[in-house]
């Protein structure tokens, strides 16, 4: 990050902090850190690898498989150890007929109908995540649009409008309309004469009238102009159908007090601006495509027990998950370790002191996702919501509607909770049944059909997940300053990769870019040693 970038970021944060309070700044800090632009080189390739050089890769998530795929192409001898019986890591999709068990032993069965699925981890790909999109293209993984912003989805605050959800369309139109009217009045009352020339004032009035949907008197109220933005009470029809009727605007004071405008910022931020994509059929289509390229190179059900490096190479001890009595050892010249830090910091190893302290320093965010199957797609047939996300101040935080198979009959699956912060710890502490019950209880406040139409549900708590013990590496600016450089270093024979070794934490793009960067540096190290 150059100085100009960090300075402007700091400035932006201080503005947000002053105007919107600390919690908004906390949110903004996260999203700005996430918003770093991709540095993907679409022509990435390494040349001159030697098949006598063996590289062992720990973890068959996207970082591990990116490294394995590219190193294999470069000519190296590659072996991947993976704890689970399948590849992909957090790039994961749950479908009907599957079971999974979380720490504590509770087993959940997924009872979704054929063709329906739920992505417990990553679920959307921004258009500027060039590396993820690049591999989708290389492997022929079919993509479809992921609807992030749906103006007919809902914004809900339990503390505003009597708990009645409002559509994004209405909140946005009324917010823009009221701001425009008030600013127009300021101009009319010559309050901005010092800031603006006569011509500027005229131009700005024109902007506000048009952008805000003001009527010819510069007012935002029940009118054709406002209804063209916020929608009509009665929509236009044909023949002798009723005439279109304008809709009443929300009370300005209540709108401001509701805070619902905050939710609008999500879809407007860089990482969530359209177009976003999802792989057709589930996010793990990408993982499957990678693992197909690596057939025979991945050792599944391998639990890493010890990581030991010396001047000559690396020795990894691992145990078959299904045969705990057997310890096996795998030696290699080099190692790329993509295990989450939350797992790695529990495995005996001999990293340098710098690396060891970095590995132990970064906490993992708590998050829980809940997939709910309903008997019918009532959000489409009753509520006319096709894809997109509703937001609420309730613990479930979001409801996201499927961005595919619109209008299909039969059951449908939506994301019934995407839970963070204190609530994520609380949902992690619940049984699977309690989580579903709570998700239904809260979701009912946005959709009255919830209880009646509920069919089955499944939840994933990332902290209770036996192979991640958390969702993603929760860096702060202080932790970055203290540990990020160390974490990127090639530590004798081992280099780390994964979303935790990136400035795009929690995103697949971060995992892939960190792997590409790690293997490029490792390859250079190997080539230069050989010379």
């Amino acid at each position: 990050m150059n100085d100009g970038h960090s300075l402007s970021r700091r400035r932006i944060l201080s503005w947000i902090g002053k105007t919107a309070g600390a919690s908004a700044m906390y949110q903004a800090m996260n999203s700005l850190a996430f918003a770093s632009e991709s540095n993907y080189d679409s022509n990435f390739s390494l040349d001159g690898g030697n098949s006598k050089t063996k590289i062992i890769i720990l973890g068959a998530g996207l970082a591990g498989m990116t490294a394995a795929h590219e190193l294999k192409k470069a000519g190296y001898s590659v072996k991947v150890l993976e704890y689970r019986p399948i590849a992909g890591g957090r790039c994961w999709t749950l479908r009907g007929g599957e079971q999974f068990s979380e720490l504590g032993g509770e087993i959940q069965s997924c009872n979704f109908d054929p063709g329906l699925y739920f992505n417990p981890g990553p679920w959307r790909i921004p258009y500027h995540h060039h590396a993820v999109l690049g591999y989708c293209k290389e492997f022929g993984v079919k993509l479809e649009p992921f609807v992030q912003v749906n103006h007919n989805a809902r914004l809900h605050s339990s503390m505003a409008f009597g708990g009645k959800p409002q559509s994004i369309r209405v909140v946005q139109a009324d917010l823009h309309g009221n701001i425009s009217e008030l600013l127009s009045k300021c101009i009319d009352q010559r309050r901005l004469n010092d800031e603006l020339t006569v011509e500027d004032r005229e131009k700005l009035l024109e902007v506000l009238r048009s952008w805000g949907g003001l009527d010819r008197n510069g007012e935002y109220k029940k009118s054709l102009e406002s209804s063209l933005r916020r929608g009509f009470l009665i929509d236009a029809g044909g023949g002798s159908m009723p005439l279109p009727t304008y809709s009443e605007t929300l009370d300005r004071g209540e709108l401001l007090k509701s805070g619902l405008w905050r939710f609008l910022l999500d879809g407007g931020s860089y990482e969530f601006q359209p177009t976003l994509f999802q792989p057709v059929g589930g996010m793990d289509m990408l993982a499957r495509a990678f693992s197909k390229k690596l057939a025979g190179s991945i050792e599944y059900n391998a639990c890493v027990k010890n990581i030991h490096q010396s001047a000559e190479g690396v020795k990894i001890s691992w145990q078959n998950v299904n045969d705990p009595s057997s310890i096996q050892t795998e030696s290699a010249d080099w190692c790329i370790c993509t295990l989450p830090l939350s797992i790695l910091n529990k495995i005996p190893s001999n990293f340098s002191a710098r690396m060891t302290s970095a590995i132990h320093a970064i906490p993992y965010a708590a998050s829980v996702k809940i997939g709910l199957q309903f008997k019918r797609r009532f959000w489409e047939s009753d509520d006319h919501i096709y894809g997109g996300i509703s937001y609420t101040d309730l613990p479930i935080s979001k409801i996201s509607y499927p961005s595919n198979d619109y209008g299909s009959s039969g059951k449908g699956v939506l994301l019934g909770g995407y839970i963070w912060g204190p609530n994520a710890y609380e949902f992690s502490a619940m049984s699977a049944e309690q989580r579903i019950k709570s998700a239904l209880h809260y979701g009912s406040q946005l959709h009255s059909q919830y209880q009646q139409e509920f069919d089955s549900g499944i939840s994933v708590s990332w902290h209770r997940n036996s192979w991640t013990n958390g969702c993603y590496a929760q860096w702060t600016n202080e932790l970055r300053a203290a540990h990020y450089d160390a974490m990127c270093e090639i530590d004798n024979r081992i280099v780390l990769a994964g979303e935790h070794v990136s400035y795009i934490p929690a995103w697949q793009e971060g995992a892939i870019l960190s792997a590409l960067d790690a293997i490029k540096r490792l390859h250079n190290r190997i080539i230069n040693r050989a010379l």
């Binding site: 132990h360 935080s397 209880h441």
Partner: protein, 137 residues
Amino acid sequence: MNSIRILVFSLLVLSLLNNYVSAETFISEYSILHDQPHFNEISGKQLFLGICQGCHMSEGEGAIGAGYYPALANNEKLYASGYPIYLVLEGSGNMPAFKKYLTDEQVMSVVNYIRTTMGNHARDSVSLADVQAISHR
């Protein structure tokens, strides 16, 4: 016989009610619409069941997968009261820092709970001043 049946029935109802109430009451507010994220749980037991057991499991037995969560049960490390107070407040490694979500009273309650249950028998109890000495607030 009948009275036993009634007792069993009322216990059952009570436990169901308890489950329901705990699902309703102790889900804390966390939203960009709210000022300060915090936990609503009050007693040590509520805090343990509402938060800690997510990773340390319902009997404090910990859990083992590709990595592990340490057990709180039968854990003599907890007897040095500064250790659990510090870990709850500031975190370490996988243990998250809860300082911004919990009051010192809540920290005191949960630390006292884990030090005297699940096979732990700390003789002293932690005071608010003990927590404040570490939280500096």
